[in-house]
């Protein structure tokens, strides 16, 4: 048995990016959870409250960066797991294209929603 399990090739660029985004996500995800479940309860979230929080430039930028990092980390994770399970050749290229498009769509929609919340579009 191996001593160390990973879906990634250790030391590769994707492996490194997965770890850098993970380190960032620990901090932001914890902040996000506390703010929206313990400071403001999820059940009491209102449009006014969201608009107010998004007015703060730092908060807005943090949320956009959070979205981009999580999308990259999640999609990269799924892709590497599939490659690790033996995905190769044309199917590998198709999966990469589909995942990339899905990730881009997620980020574009998310950024658009964030801009709407900030009242910028």
């Amino acid at each position: 048995m191996a001593e160390h399990y990973s879906s990634f090739t250790p030391g590769g660029t994707m492996w490194l990016l997965q770890r850098i985004t993970a380190a960032f996500l620990v901090v932001v995800l914890a902040f996000h959870f506390f703010l929206l479940h313990f400071v403001n309860h999820a059940a009491d979230i209102t449009w006014q409250g969201t608009q107010m929080r998004m007015q703060d430039l730092g908060y807005f930028l943090t949320m956009v960066l959070f979205l981009i990092t999580a999308a990259f980390h999640g999609i990269n994770g799924v892709y590497n797991a599939l490659v690790n399970q033996g995905l190769s050749g044309t199917p590998k290229k198709v999966v990469l294209a589909v995942l990339t498009l899905a990730g881009l769509a997620l980020v574009i929609q998310g950024v658009y929603v964030a801009l709407v919340m900030r009242g910028m579009v």
């Binding site: 399990y5 959870f33 209102t46 969201t50």
Partner: protein
């Protein structure tokens, strides 16, 4: 070639009874990661009700006319099943975070001898954090 690649047939999921702690940690990390990215898509879809809200659209929740965003979120939060799923999501997220930190340590070469123990610690801590959060997550919801 690093030893990490030579996992042999042990990854045959039919042989789960033979899996080591590290193998379980890896499987849990996979499942939780996939659930989290799935949730992120759902989350942005729900938050997209902000587009209708900014447009001045309203919906009726419990006989009351409210803003489309407020109504969508509070309508979902008023459902018991949604709260249960949120607690489940919390469990999944907390495990992925704690085990993720454990993986980062392993990669840095810290605590290599304690890998099994730190996996069990991740599980126990996840359990404690989730149980402690249940009252907050369930606040004000009727059956």
């Amino acid at each position: 070639m690093s030893q990490s690649y030579n996992r042999g047939l042990i990854e045959d999921f039919g042989r789960w009874k033979e899996f080591s702690a590290g193998m379980w940690a890896w499987i849990f990390h996979k499942f939780t990661g996939w659930i989290l990215i799935g949730y992120l898509f759902t989350h942005i879809a729900v938050l997209s009700s902000a587009i209708a809200a900014a447009d001045g659209q309203t919906i009726v929740v419990g006989g009351e006319t409210v803003n489309a965003y407020t109504g969508t979120l509070q309508g979902l939060e008023s459902l018991f099943i949604v709260r249960v799923m949120e607690v489940g999501l919390l469990a999944v997220a907390v495990f992925h975070i704690l085990n993720g930190c454990r993986l980062l340590m392993v990669d840095l070469g810290i605590g290599l001898e304690a890998q099994d123990k730190s996996f069990y610690a991740s599980l126990v801590l996840t359990g404690i954090i989730v149980v402690a959060s249940v009252p907050t997550f369930m606040q004000g919801v009727g059956l």
